[in-house]
């Protein structure tokens, strides 16, 4: 009697491992995944090690070097406080990627959990959770994040929380839908007949089958949260000066559009390139992992 659930469990473990191997093989064949991964790895290397190679302090003000155009000395020029923009863009990358990762970690964990519970248990649990999602979705775009920051106060950690909370429904809806489908399958009934607990069924048998859409959404929402996070800092509600943050750098450079456009050009380029890279990777992952969502 006890041996059967164990056998089932090893099968499930093998399931996790098997699907990972299959995915990695298919991943390597996608052009979008390859380009996206290469670019992202380059960006990660740059923001991790780049700042160590730069001779400049990202926050130190040197008024004598104010608003210098790009040159061999300052690759991206300097800002109105004489700080090297290249160095600040590299440091800013750390901040933006961190905002993206932490916010998505928040929304992905909570959203997936709620989606699993809603889809698996149904009934009032489902009704309650989905009503909650309706409430979050009632706030258009970045409005909810703005409202949360208004309550919690302006700071970078609060931005991560705010952006994280507002993208919970993305995950909950998709995971709930997939769970509803998986729940109907025979092997779930079999697992239940063998006496598996709900928790064990959800973790070992449902989750591995809903994990692909989660990966796809998580990747794409990192791109989205980087934009939103920088937007909040742009509006003055996130990172505070003198933090090198892309959105904040754009806001500070706005005054100099006429005579020192480089102050805004490079942080802007950094955001677009990073976000495009992540979106490209997300598109590739979607094509490979979730062919139903494929664009053509």
């Amino acid at each position: 009697m006890t041996s059967q659930p164990i056998a089932l469990e090893t099968a499930a473990r093998r399931g996790w491992r098997y699907s990972l191997r299959r995915f990695s093989r298919r991943l390597l064949r996608s052009r979008n995944v390859l380009i996206g991964t290469t670019l992202l790895a380059t960006i990660l290397l740059l923001v991790t090690f780049g700042p160590m190679l730069s001779p400049y302090n990202p926050e130190l003000m040197t008024p004598a070097e104010r608003l210098k155009p790009p040159s061999a000395q300052y690759f991206f020029g300097t800002d109105d406080f004489g700080r090297d923009i290249f160095t600040r863009v590299l440091y800013g990358g750390r901040v933006s990627l961190l905002v993206g990762l932490v916010s998505v970690a928040i929304s992905c964990t909570i959203g997936t959990l709620l989606g699993l519970l809603a889809g698996y248990f149904g009934g009032w649990v489902d009704a309650l959770i989905m009503r909650g999602m309706d409430v979050i979705l009632a706030f258009p775009g970045i409005l909810l994040a703005l409202a949360i920051v208004a309550v919690l106060g302006r700071s970078l950690p609060n931005v991560m929380i705010a952006v994280g909370i507002s993208s919970i429904p993305l995950f909950t809806r998709i995971v709930r839908g997939s769970t509803l489908t998986v729940k109907q399958l025979d092997y779930i009934t079999a697992a239940r007949a063998l006496g598996c607990s709900d928790g064990r069924i959800i973790w070992w048998h449902v989750l591995p089958n809903v994990v692909t859409p989660i990966i796809v959404i998580a990747t794409n929402s990192i791109a989205g949260t980087i934009i939103t996070g920088a937007a909040l800092s742009f509006l003055g509600l996130g990172a505070q000066p003198p933090t090198p943050e892309w959105g904040l750098m754009l806001a500070e450079g706005r005054v100099y559009l006429r005579n020192a456009a480089w102050v805004t050009t490079y942080p802007g380029l950094a955001i677009v390139i990073t976000v495009m890279t992540i979106n490209l990777l997300g598109d590739g992952l979607r094509d490979v992992l979730d062919p139903r969502l494929k664009l053509d």
């Binding site: 009632a138 409202a147 959105g247 754009l250 559009l257 490209l280």
Partner: protein, 307 residues
């Protein structure tokens, strides 16, 4: 149809109530004492704070305060600004036309651009045109509106001197913010239109039309286009939300006196009655916009029946 509409409105009631409770509680979730929040940064003695508590009814139990807030809200009283003591709703309504003008102009641009790019990509499927269109779409999705706005100012105002950089009230001042905002939403739309068009082009009735010997243009424009555009309505709500959210940023950059800018300024000034009122107004308006879009969807797609 009417029954569906009534049903849909009825379903929205719990959402609206929950939203209003949340918005009401905002003031109480701010760390610290609500009376102190009303006073703001100014110094206040304990007696003065007590007076404010009495005056604002902050001593009463929360449910009573909530009902009082809602009772006034449905009569159009969202309180007064902590900043300039003007009625919150008046302020919102004064600023509403500017935001509507911007959002609708952006929606128009996003539609023309998105549908155009999507159709082009689908018709020239698997060619360079397709790849180029989808690259522009990816750029649209990845471009933050606060940077595209700055680029437009650099290009159209600083370099070419065609348009005034900021302000509102005339057509030439609407172009840049609407372009920046419209481009933001066009990417997702272009992708949707492309996949939807490819889907439609693969269907039997298109084969029939081809077999009849109809010219390609007629097939695309008269037979395929209509069905292609049906799924577009489903993302209209999302687009509208994105545009409203984006308006917060474009209005700030282009110094437009809209609701978005009002909202950001209220947050920065800690004008919490204004933040509360605006949040409630926008959220409830958005719930109704989504209902409206659902109704339009049924109206244009006779295959769907909800009753």
């Amino acid at each position: 149809m009417t029954r569906y509409l009534i049903n849909r409105l009825f379903q929205a009631v719990p959402t609206v109530i929950l939203v209003s409770i949340l918005v009401f509680l905002m003031l109480h979730m701010i760390p610290g004492d609500p009376a102190q929040v009303y006073v703001g940064e100014r110094e206040a003695t304990e007696e003065r704070l007590n007076e404010i508590r009495e005056l604002m009814g902050l001593n009463r139990p929360l449910p009573v305060q909530y009902l009082d807030y809602m009772f006034k809200a449905v009569q159009g009283d969202l309180g007064r600004s902590l900043n300039n003591n003007r009625p919150v709703l008046d302020e919102i309504l004064t600023r509403l036309p500017s935001t509507l003008e911007l959002t609708l102009a952006a929606l128009l641009i996003a539609s023309v651009l998105g549908i155009g790019l999507g159709l082009l990509a689908a018709i020239k499927h698997n060619t360079l045109v397709d790849s180029a269109s989808m690259f522009v779409a990816l750029l649209g999705i990845s471009m933050p509106v606060y940077w595209s706005s700055l680029l437009l100012i650099i290009l159209l105002s600083v370099t070419l001197r065609w348009l005034p950089p900021i302000g509102q009230g005339s057509f030439d001042r609407l172009i840049m913010p609407a372009l920046a905002l419209g481009f933001l939403s066009s990417g997702a739309l272009a992708r949707l239109v492309r996949s939807s068009m490819l889907d439609v082009l693969g269907q039997e009735y298109i084969n029939t039309a081809r077999a009849k010997g109809l010219p390609g243009r007629t097939i695309i424009l008269r037979h395929a286009l209509r069905n292609t555009l049906i799924p577009v309505v489903t993302i209209l709500g999302m687009m509208f939300g994105q545009l409203l959210g984006g308006a917060v940023i474009t209005e700030t950059i282009f110094a437009r006196l809209g609701i978005g800018r009002l909202y950001v300024e209220a947050i920065l000034n800690k004008d919490f009655t204004m933040v509360q009122g605006t949040t409630l107004f926008i959220a409830i308006a958005y719930v109704f916009i989504n209902i409206l879009i659902d109704v339009i969807y049924i109206y244009i797609d006779p295959r769907i029946r909800y009753d």
